[in-house]
C-alpha cells in the first residue's frame, strides 16, 4: 500500500488527480472500520489529517478537516449540539465534518444541520479549481455523493444569514456512541420561516417542505397545528426498516422529534 502525505489541499488534489482510485483518509473513523473488517483494502491512501489549510474554521466556511471536537465549541448552536452527539470523545477528536460529508451516510450527524443551513459543499480539483455544490445536489444516495474522482472536499460553505434560532437532536439507543435512528435540525429565521431537516429517514438528508410551510410564520401555533405538523413530518419522510429500527418507529419518531425541536425554537 502506498501512503501519501500532502502538505496542502493543492497537493492533495494533485495526488488524487494523478491516481483517481486513491482513497482519502480524514479522521479514519469510517474508513478504518471498513479496513478492520476486511471490507476495504486500499492500494493508495491520501492522508489529510495534517493538511492545515483544511482544518480552518470560520463561521461561514467550515474546513473539511475541522473535527467534531472543535465543532462542539462553534458558534452555530445546533451544529455544536450535533457535534456533541457524535460517537464519543475519542471519535470526536478524530472524525471531521468533511469525512461526514464524504461518507454521505444517511445517518451522518452533521448532515441535517447542513441541509437546514442550506450549505454548499466546496470541492477542489487541479483542473477545474473550486466548485460549489448545494447540499441537495451533493448528497445523491446512500453513501453516494457528487464528488468527482479527481476532487477533494475542502469545506462546507454557509450563507451569511443562517438563522441563529436553531436546534438539533437525535434519537438512538444510548446518549453516546450511537448511530442515529432519527436525527433532526429545525431553524427559525427572523421572519418566522421554519426549516426542518431530518437524517436517517431517507437515502440522503432531507427537508420536509410541506411541514415547513404549515408552521412558517406561526409564532404561537395551536396544539392542533403542532399535531398536524408532526403528522406531516411523519408522512413526508421516507424511512426503511433495518437492524436499528423499523419504518413505522422512524416515521413516528420523526414527527415527535421535529415537533419538539420546533417548540424549542419557538420558545427562544
Amino acid at each position: 500500500m502506498e501512503f501519501s502525505r500532502p502538505a496542502s489541499t493543492e497537493e492533495a488534489a494533485a495526488i488524487k488527480a494523478a491516481d483517481p482510485g486513491a482513497t482519502i483518509l480524514a479522521g479514519g473513523t469510517d474508513l478504518m472500520v471498513e479496513v478492520n473488517f476486511g471490507h476495504a483494502s486500499p492500494d493508495h491512501v491520501i492522508g489529510l489529517r495534517r493538511v492545515d489549510d483544511l482544518a480552518d474554521y470560520q463561521d461561514t466556511r467550515i474546513g473539511a478537516g475541522v473535527t467534531w471536537a472543535r465543532l462542539e465549541e462553534c458558534s452555530h448552536r445546533a451544529l455544536a449540539q450535533a457535534a456533541r452527539t457524535v460517537g464519543s470523545p475519542q471519535i470526536r477528536a478524530a472524525g471531521t465534518i468533511g469525512g461526514n460529508i464524504g461518507t454521505a451516510s444517511p445517518a451522518g450527524d452533521g448532515l441535517p444541520w447542513l441541509a437546514a443551513a442550506e450549505a454548499e459543499i466546496e470541492v477542489y480539483s487541479t483542473t477545474r479549481g473550486t466548485r460549489l455544490v448545494s447540499w441537495d445536489q451533493f448528497f445523491t444516495g446512500v453513501k453516494q455523493n457528487a464528488l468527482a474522482d479527481d476532487e477533494v472536499i475542502t469545506a462546507a460553505v454557509l450563507p451569511e444569514n443562517v438563522p441563529s434560532v436553531q436546534e438539533f437532536a437525535k434519537i438512538g439507543q444510548r446518549s453516546a456512541m450511537v448511530i442515529s435512528t432519527v436525527s433532526a435540525c429545525v431553524m427559525r429565521d427572523d421572519e418566522g420561516s421554519i426549516r426542518v431537516a431530518l437524517g436517517a429517514v431517507a437515502p440522503t438528508p432531507i427537508r420536509v417542505r410541506q411541514a415547513e410551510a404549515l408552521v412558517s410564520g406561526q409564532s404561537n401555533p395551536s396544539e392542533a397545528l403542532l399535531e398536524e405538523f408532526a403528522r406531516t413530518v411523519s408522512a413526508e419522510v421516507k424511512p426503511i426498516t433495518d437492524h436499528r429500527s423499523t419504518e413505522a418507529y422512524r416515521r413516528h419518531a420523526s414527527g415527535v422529534l421535529a415537533r419538539r425541536l420546533l417548540e424549542r425554537c419557538l420558545a427562544q
Binding site: M1, F3, R5, L25, G27, G28, T29, L31, M32, V33, V35, N36, F37, A40, S41, P42, V45, G47, R49, A69, G87, S88, P89, Q90, I91, A93, A94, S175, A176, M177
Partner: protein, 153 residues
C-alpha cells in the same frame, strides 16, 4: 513500510504492513499489548491512546498516518516505581473486575485529569462515554475517579 513515531517518549521505527491500525502496530510490532483489541470499530474504547495530544481509539488510526506522531499508551503513564494517579485511584476503589477495559479507561481518565484536575461527576461520565466495561463495573470506576477529583491539586 517503516513509520517513525515517538511512543511513550521513545523514538521507534515500526515496520507497518499496509493499512494496519495503530493498535495492531502497538501490540504486534512494538511490544505494547496494554492497549486492548476488542471491537475494532471504535465503539468500546479498550484501545484508547493519546495521539498528538488527542484522545483516540487506536483501532481507527492507520499506522501509516502516524509518521512523526507522538503516542502515549497505558504503558507510558506509569513507571516501575510509581502508578499514575488515575491507576492508584482505580486500585483504591477496587474498580477493576476482569480488567480488560481498564487500560482504555485509565488512558481516557488520565487525559481528562490532565485537562481538568477537578472534574465534576458529570464531566467524568461524559469523558468516559467512549469506554465500555462489559462487567458493568462503572460504579466503582466513577467512585474512584470522583474521589481523585476531590483530592487537593
Amino acid at each position: 513500510m517503516i513509520i517513525n513515531m515517538t511512543v511513550n517518549g521513545e523514538a521507534r521505527n515500526a515496520v507497518v504492513a499496509g493499512s494496519e491500525s495503530l493498535l495492531t502496530t502497538l501490540r504486534e510490532e512494538l511490544g505494547l499489548p496494554g492497549s486492548k483489541n476488542a471491537c475494532e470499530q471504535g465503539e468500546c474504547g479498550s484501545c484508547t491512546v493519546i495521539l498528538d495530544g488527542a484522545l483516540v481509539t487506536s483501532c481507527l488510526v492507520m499506522s501509516a498516518d502516524c509518521e512523526d506522531s507522538e503516542i502515549t499508551t497505558v504503558e507510558g503513564l506509569s513507571t516501575d516505581r510509581e502508578l499514575h494517579a488515575v491507576q492508584r485511584a482505580l486500585l483504591d476503589a477496587g474498580a477493576v473486575q476482569c480488567g480488560f477495559c481498564t487500560p482504555g479507561f485509565v488512558v481516557a481518565a488520565a487525559h481528562l485529569f490532565e485537562e481538568n484536575r477537578h472534574p465534576s461527576s458529570e464531566t467524568i461520565r461524559e469523558a468516559l462515554s467512549g469506554n465500555i466495561c462489559r462487567c458493568t463495573g462503572y460504579g466503582a470506576i466513577l467512585r474512584g475517579l470522583e474521589a481523585l477529583a476531590q483530592e487537593p491539586s
